[in-house]
């Protein structure tokens, strides 16, 4: 048993994204004497934040109503909104009036969520929240309550200096136990502690499985002649076609920067598909190439996205804590937005914890948060669109898209979707089918101008991991990658990983899976998509991982 120093707070928050920071701010607004600690595994707040993003300010309006006077990095209002269906060389623009009203981006802003989070952290610190970046939470601390039920009483954070075999190294730091009356898990999509909690307390029981997408993003500095600040464009169709659901976003932000991203729904069946290479070839579409030519890619990153929507939200409370933001999965898929819901969830959780602490409670379930999340603005936002994703998955692009549109129009006009609630059924891991049922996909070679090979791009995420630590991508069974994943699925990790972490190499004439964990950008796709669910993403040492700029 490792001896650790311990400190107690009212609320311990794991993760400095929009939901965790909003919860911290709200707790201090309600009672400045509430003690709040927020821990972030990234080297600084914002270092691990990756989002489009077009921000619906409703979350911020509720949290900090005067934000417009607070010099927030939220300046670029959406001026023009395009939706294109692409073929390999052509495009069809969908008229804006065909779009359901809830898809309208009027009044929204193009932002870097990384910068928004940095700003939110400043607000939180001014209110007295203790924020510690570079501190990964590696364990949950449980204790039995009077009835003998495990409840969460805290986390272990800031363990450094383990050897690769897991034993303490020469400069080992055991970290600290941070104890709280309530522990908020705001780790983002597929958080490692959230995953443990969801399994331990069977929080997904009675709900649909969570569904995911993989979002890849580059920041480009474009030729000023091509830059139209405030313009957003979304595309669907080529190059994915019917191989997978997904599409792109192109946001013209400030300072001649364009945020260009590509999302692939992770329920694709063909193991030969490579989301990374789909993104790279997408940039060669004449429409996109025209925009990027003469420009320069300045940053790269990737992050999984929760896409299950309303029916996939697990129970969000457990004894001693709550799941916030995308640890619960609050993205509105057709609106391509989740930051507003993340912030609202943080606010709601904070309000529930404040009331509970005021009443002298601790370590129990915050039922008021569960109720508010499902019936309040977040639930309403997600419930309206709950069939769009399953319709897309079920009917493919060309039939699913209009059906989703009809369902949303119906919901807009009549207050509830046409199709009731459609189920997702399969997890994304189960969606993969054997490799021999598909032709391998031949992707074009990157040209080094518009498209790049994976490792060159990974350098632009500024990711790094201390090499002597244990590999944070744990295999439950080390034989499975070759015996099953390679034999049946041509080891899809080589292709779905956007950072080139997984490689099949020859060793003594035998294939072997090599895990280059130093390249990991913490997107969590392997944990989600591995067909055998053999990969467990654990947090590496704090401060490791990408160092995103204004992602």
């Amino acid at each position: 048993m490792i001896e650790r120093e311990s400190m107690s707070y009212d609320v311990v928050i794991v993760g400095g994204g929009p939901s965790g920071l909003s919860a911290a701010i709200r707790l201090k607004q309600l009672d400045p004497d509430t003690s709040v600690i927020l821990l972030e595994k990234g080297s600084e707040i914002g270092a691990h934040i990756l989002s489009g993003a077009v921000l619906d300010p409703s979350g911020l309006d509720a949290l900090l109503p005067t934000w417009r006077d607070m010099d927030a990095p939220i300046k670029t209002e959406v001026k023009e909104d395009n939706f294109l269906m692409l073929t390999e060389t052509g495009k069809t623009k969908l008229p804006n009036m065909a779009m359901p009203a809830l898809m309208n981006n009027h009044g929204n802003y193009i932002v870097s969520m990384g910068n928004v989070c940095r700003w939110l952290a400043e607000q939180a610190e001014e209110l007295g929240v203790e924020i510690f970046p570079g501190m990964a939470c590696s364990e949950l601390v449980y204790e039995k309550d009077d009835a003998g039920i495990d409840r969460v009483v805290g986390v272990v954070a800031g363990e450094f200096g383990l050897n690769s075999d897991g034993t303490p190294g020469p400069s080992y730091e055991p970290g600290m136990e941070l104890r709280g009356k309530y522990v908020f898990l705001s780790e983002g999509v597929r958080g490692s502690l959230s995953k443990e909690i969801i399994q331990k307390y069977a929080l997904s029981e009675g709900h649909e499985p969570q569904k995911f997408g993989l979002g890849l993003k580059e920041i480009w500095e474009v030729d000023p002649a091509n830059h139209q600040e405030g313009t957003i464009t979304h595309t669907m169709g080529w190059p994915l076609g019917n191989n997978a659901g997904g599409g792109s976003f192109i946001y013209h932000a400030e300072n001649n920067q364009v945020f260009i991203g590509f999302v692939v729904h992770l329920n694709y069946a063909n193991p030969h598909l490579s989301p990374y290479e789909e993104f790279q070839r997408f940039k060669h579409h004449p429409e996109v190439a025209k925009l990027l030519t003469g420009g320069k890619r300045v940053a790269y990153g990737a992050r999984a996205i929760s896409e299950g929507g309303y029916q996939s939200i697990p129970k969000v409370v457990f004894p001693g804590g709550a799941l916030l933001g995308c640890s619960a999965g609050l993205v509105n898929v057709p609106r391509i937005k989740g930051n507003h819901n993340a912030m609202l969830s943080g606010k709601a959780a904070a309000e529930a914890a404040f009331e509970a602490i005021k009443a002298g409670r601790e370590g129990d379930e915050l039922a008021a948060y569960e109720t508010e999340l499902r019936s309040g603005p977040v639930g309403k936002d997600l419930k309206m669109v709950r069939n769009v994703k399953p319709l897309w998955s079920k009917y493919g692009l060309w039939r699913g898209l209009p059906l989703g549109g009809i369902d949303m129009w119906w919901a807009t006009l009549l207050g509830k979707p046409l199709f009731g609630t459609i189920r997702h059924i399969k997890t994304d891991a189960e969606s993969l089918e054997p490799a021999d049922q598909f032709e391998p996909i031949q992707y074009p070679k990157p040209d080094g101008v518009l498209s790049f090979d994976r490792l060159t791009n990974v350098a632009f995420s500024a990711t790094n991991h201390e090499e002597s630590q244990p590999c944070h991508l744990r295999l439950k069974d080390t034989a499975v990658p070759i015996r099953v994943n390679l034999a049946t699925y041509a080891e899809p990790a080589q292709r779905y990983c956007p950072a080139g972490v997984y490689e099949i190499v020859e060793q003594n004439n035998e294939p072997k899976l090599q895990i280059n964990f130093q390249n990991c950008v913490h997107c969590k796709t392997c944990d989600i998509k591995d067909p055998t669910q053999n990969i467990d993403w654990k947090t590496p040492q704090g401060g490791d991982g990408p160092n995103y700029p204004n992602m």
């Binding site: 270092a47 510690f132 500095e221 700029p549």
Partner: protein
């Protein structure tokens, strides 16, 4: 003996530096910054001397923008006792030149009267490798640069320093007070642990400005241009040794 350690806030070593579109320097907007790695080694060495009982107090100094307090907090969390922040710029893109830094440090040293200054041999952003040497000249103190070991003889006021020189090592004795600038192999800095980061928040940090110290930080050097290295051209895979030799001879013309 008091030890003074200057620390600089620089672009993080993991970040791929990018030249600003006007060529005036490296773009630092939204870029992760951290303590200069050589300075971190200097802080570690000072702490080890204190742990051995050869130093009584460690003062860390940073000069630059207000956010440089972050790297001072890191040094305090590692084990420095107190910090002095000299605000000399309000834009992170304004680099303070070595001579101005040395002049500011000289003023601080006149106030603090340390027996030893341990500094990084250079900052990884502009690679000047000049501040330690200039400071030594301004103060009239001895200097030992590129140090990989440092042993203090408190009784005789002497520091024995191993220097990393081209193709070997050189051991010299310098008289204290002295300026020692450290190289990469001197030590491996410790982690700033969470409990120590918490405690560091309560350690004293004094704030001054360059003007308070009467030092003019106006640049004396002008940057003509900053350019990225040329992009590497794609390689080709040859099928045989003879093809390789043929290409080296006739295409690359190197043999």
């Amino acid at each position: 003996m008091k030890i003074l350690v200057p620390v600089k806030r620089v672009i993080d070593y993991n970040v791929k530096a990018r030249v600003k579109s006007d060529g005036s320097g490296v773009d630092l907007a939204n870029v992760k910054m951290s303590i200069n790695p050589f300075d971190e080694i200097a802080v570690e060495e000072a702490i080890r001397l204190k742990e051995k009982g050869q130093a009584s107090e460690i003062v860390v100094v940073s000069i630059g923008v207000k956010q440089a307090q972050d790297v001072l907090r890191t040094a305090l969390a590692m084990g420095a006792d107190r910090a002095i922040l000299v605000i000399a710029a309000d834009d992170v893109h304004q680099d303070i030149e070595p001579l101005a830094v040395a002049k500011i440090l000289k003023k601080v040293i006149e106030d603090e009267a340390p027996g030893l200054v341990i500094a990084g041999k250079q900052a990884i952003d502009n690679d000047m490798n000049a501040t330690g040497q200039m400071l030594s000249a301004l103060l009239g103190w001895s200097q030992a640069t590129f140090a990989s070991t440092l042993d203090i003889d408190n009784d005789n006021d002497i520091a024995r320093v191993t220097r990393e020189i081209d193709g070997g090592l050189q051991t010299i004795d310098v008289k204290l007070p002295s300026i020692v600038t450290v190289d990469l192999r001197m030590n491996e800095p410790r982690f700033a642990s969470l409990p120590n980061i918490m405690k560091a928040k309560r350690k004293p940090m004094e704030e001054k400005t360059a003007a308070d110290l009467g030092v003019d930080v106006t640049p004396r050097l002008s940057i003509i241009t900053t350019a990225e290295p040329p992009a590497r051209e794609a390689g080709i895979i040859v099928n045989s040794v003879s093809e390789l030799v043929e290409k080296l001879k006739n295409e690359a013309e190197v043999i």
